[in-house]
């Protein structure tokens, strides 16, 4: 079976001390030229902090979403009430997280492409962030299923005819 590397960052919110070093180094790494500037507002990790309620949740920037969730849930953990958004990775219209401050373009964590280890992890020496890599076997049937789910979604949105047309155009190009 084929294998792929799964990169995971384990976040231990209990160990987070709220220092925002992860934000600092992430923003510096992605500056052009590299390290030429820093600005946590550009970071691809954000520490959702509410010091007076003792809440600290480091969150990584995930996919962009054009629309915010219709409803919001609340979670109570250890007696503290968190908004669902506190754990969400989306760059979403409902909040300023994960957008370039000037252009508003969405930001996404790229696991510090080209570095041996994500830099936010390297600068979090209190171990609130731990990097793990593991090989996972890829089950082709699962992939098949995933593809089918994806295609079904596209079909319901655009209709089968249009999907077919796009597919044949794409295969002609190849």
């Amino acid at each position: 079976m084929p294998k792929k590397t799964i990169k995971t960052i384990r976040v231990d919110v209990d160990k987070c001390n709220g220092c925002r070093s992860c934000e600092v180094i992430c923003s510096a790494f992605h500056a052009e030229p590299k390290y030429s500037s820093s600005n946590p507002a550009r970071s691809r990790i954000r520490v959702i902090r509410e010091p007076y309620s003792d809440m600290y949740v480091p969150v990584y920037a995930g996919e962009y979403t054009p629309a915010e969730c219709a409803g919001r849930d609340k979670y109570t953990i250890d007696g503290k009430e968190y908004e669902e958004c506190a754990f969400c990775r989306a760059s979403c219209p409902s909040r300023p997280e994960f957008k370039e401050p000037d252009s508003g373009l969405p930001l996404k964590c790229d696991m510090c492409e080209g570095e041996d280890e994500p830099l936010c992890v390297k600068w979090c020496i209190t171990d609130a962030l731990i990097y793990e890599e593991r090989e996972e076997e890829v089950d082709e049937e699962v992939e098949q299923e995933e593809m089918e789910i994806g295609l079904e979604a596209l079909t319901s949105k655009y209709g089968l005819q249009q999907i077919k047309a796009v597919l044949s155009r794409m295969s002609e190009k190849e």
Binding site: D14, R20, S21, A28, Y35, Y52, D54
Partner: protein, 653 residues
């Protein structure tokens, strides 16, 4: 293009409600760096000695350090500078936390307040949009309470708030400025903020801070991070717990308080309790701290987490760091549970955790000795703990005796008379000190106490061990990886320093060595105060990650000014002298430069005189502690020399 700094100050005239963004001169950065250095220059230029703390012309400067907002680890200090109502001198107090980097990202290096607002206001700096907003609904609110209310009303959970509590509003001479986890506490700067009618300064910034040589700068940062990790794995043996590990200091982490509780004095800095620390007390205090502390918290971009989030039963969550942990406990002769409970209130009120407990213990001593009477304390409960709560409430409201006590022990004693001055016995330059009463004169500490202008011992000591190590082999081991020394001779001074015999205190280190040691320690603090670096990673510690050899690189690569050790030393000397010049112009002289009379039981007047004479000369100051014309000119401070001549402080002969 400006690197590390923004190149702009925010000038706010509170009387007229005028707000201006003013470009600064890059030449001043070369001469005075930033933070404290440029603050001292502004104070010199704009606050003549006729202006007192509560004049509208007094400035209240909030300055980010030069390297705040860069990735330099632990660089997050706000240096607040003004004329102190208590000492009547130029005072500078600092706070860590998150405020200074946020200000930089908002596009400003400093906020300079002048005038007075007729009504209570707060200032909202949202990048380049700056507003003065009504704060009448925040009147009387606690400092943490205020911060939370403002973040909510602005809907800005990421804004950083520096606020005063009731003590600042009522101009208590030891009122602090609070910022959640951190505070600028000493010298009554919160009273000046209250006098100006400013409840809080709120800031949010989202713009970039650039560095001049990115790769080189980051390499320095990474080295510092590596060294922090090394120090974590290698605590310094043979010193007390808070000195063996980095942090500012790690009071909230450690449980073992034997050293503080048995060596520091209790009550009004009176009683040593030499066998205080028993197993039962250790267990009780551990239980108190462990159940109160829910998390260790850091300042911006620092892994050392030397603050704590505390939850005392039934009270709002608050944060604390450092020695306030013990000051209320010891002043009231109580336990840690009381200390952490009253500190919550004291934080909301915004008072200095060194001065406030001492003022209250002083008041009780006056009562015990009949100098104040029961009538002055009408309605005060019986129990020591309750009395402290009662007095604290009176002080921050300036009610009854509280109004007198709110001016601190020095001024209160003057007002009370009848011999009360004897009881205000633990001050330097009118400012309450740590409660330390020791045996034999220590020349190093003598000079630091006399000449420190932050008037707080922790803000001048640090680089050199506090005491000799018992055995030479320990000393040899210690100096082996002591690369932070500016010169190898310091290693030799330490190697030869014995606990007893010919090479021991008070005659060894010699007077000359003592001068060099004190000068080095002070220099490192002054560098921190200009760059915005936390002393807990630097000047307060033996073997710190930041030192005289890497600082010039941080400045060169960060700010883009050519810097080497010599040039840095000269710059520090320049603004350190300027701090002194501000105070000399305000009347500070040799007579003011002395430790509390009873600090040591055994004093040696001839040696003390020789120490001060030699140190003054070493610093380029005359016998009165006034910088000489020659040294002023050498530092490029000709304008100070001229002013001194015009005022008759020095003569042109």
């Amino acid at each position: 293009m400006r690197y590390a700094e923004t190149g702009f100050n925010l000038e706010i005239d509170l009387t007229r409600g005028n707000i201006e963004r003013v470009a600064t001169d890059p030449k001043d950065t070369e001469l005075y760096l930033g933070g404290l250095g440029t603050n001292a220059k502004i104070m010199w230029d704009r606050v003549p000695p006729e202006v007192d703390a509560f004049s509208p012309e007094n400035l209240l400067i909030f300055s980010a350090g030069l390297l705040c907002g860069t990735p330099a680890i632990g660089c997050n200090r706000t240096i607040v500078t003004t004329i102190s109502p208590q000492t009547k001198l130029m005072h500078f107090s600092m706070m860590g936390g998150f405020w200074a980097p946020e200000l930089k990202h908002a596009g400003f290096d400093k906020v300079i307040l002048r005038g007075k607002s007729p009504d209570l206001v707060y200032i909202w700096i949202n990048n380049d949009k700056v507003e003065i907003r009504d704060a009448s609904h925040l009147k009387g609110k606690g400092s943490n309470e205020t911060a939370q209310l403002i973040m909510k009303e602005l809907n800005e959970p990421k804004a950083q708030v520096a606020a005063i509590g009731l003590a600042g509003e009522n101009r208590v001479f030891f009122a602090s400025i609070e910022q959640g986890r951190s505070s600028a506490s000493r010298g009554g700067i919160g009273a000046v903020m209250g006098d100006k009618g400013v409840k809080a300064i709120v800031v949010r910034g989202t713009s970039d801070i650039h560095v001049a040589q990115p790769a080189e700068f980051l390499e320095q940062c990474n080295e510092v991070m590596e060294y922090i990790k090394f120090r974590e794995d290698h605590p310094i043996p043979g010193v007390i717990p808070i000195l063996s590990v980095l942090g500012s200091p790690q009071e909230m982490m450690i449980h073992d308080e034997k050293w503080h509780t048995e060596n520091f004095s209790w009550g009004n800095s009176r009683t040593r309790r030499r066998d205080y620390w028993t197993d039962e007390i250790a267990a009780e205090w551990m239980e108190t701290l462990d159940s109160a502390r829910t998390r260790m918290v850091s300042c911006y971009n620092c892994p050392l987490k030397c603050g704590a989030t505390l939850n005392m039963p039934g009270l709002p969550t608050y944060m604390m760091k450092c020695f306030t942990k013990l000051t209320y406990t010891m002043a009231a002769m109580s336990n840690l549970d009381f200390g952490l409970t009253i500190a919550q209130k004291a934080t909301e009120y915004g008072v200095d955790g060194y001065s406030a407990p001492q003022v209250m213990a002083f008041a009780l001593e006056l009562l015990e000795n009949g100098i104040l009477t029961e009538a002055d304390f009408e309605g005060m409960p019986e129990k020591s703990e309750d009395r402290f709560f009662w007095m604290l409430d009176r002080i921050v409201r300036r009610e009854g005796i509280g109004d007198v006590l709110a001016n601190g022990t020095h001024w209160a004693a003057k007002e009370i008379g009848h011999g009360a001055e004897e009881y205000a016995h633990n001050n330097i330059k009118k400012h309450e000190q740590l409660p330390l009463k020791l045996g034999m004169l220590n020349p190093i500490y003598f000079l630091m106490y006399c000449t420190g202008e932050k008037i707080n011992i922790t803000q001048i000591e640090g680089q050199f061990p506090q005491a000799p190590f018992p055995k030479r082999e320990h000393r040899e081991k210690f100096v082996k990886d002591w690369f932070q020394v500016p010169d190898d001779k310091f290693k030799q001074y330490f190697l030869d320093w014995e606990p007893r015999g010919e090479n021991s205190m008070p005659y060894y280190p010699t007077v000359e060595m003592t001068c060099e040691i004190v000068d080095w320690m002070e220099k490192m603090h002054y560098i921190d105060d200009a760059l915005g670096m936390c002393a807990g990673l630097s000047s307060f510690h033996l073997k710190a990650p930041y030192h005289i050899h890497n600082y010039p690189k941080f400045i060169s690569f960060g700010v883009g000014i050519e810097m080497d050790e010599e040039k840095l030393t000269q710059a520090v000397k320049r603004y350190r002298t300027l701090v002194r010049a501000n105070n000399i112009r305000r009347g500070m002289r040799r007579k003011d430069e002395k430790p509390p009379e009873d600090h040591w039981k055994k004093r040696i007047p001839e040696l003390e005189k020789e120490l001060l004479d030699t140190y003054y000369a070493f610093k380029g100051w005359n016998n009165e502690g006034i910088p000489t014309l020659e040294s002023l000119k050498e530092l490029g401070l000709g304008y100070v020399a001229e002013d001194f001549i015009n005022r008759g402080i020095l003569t042109d002969a």
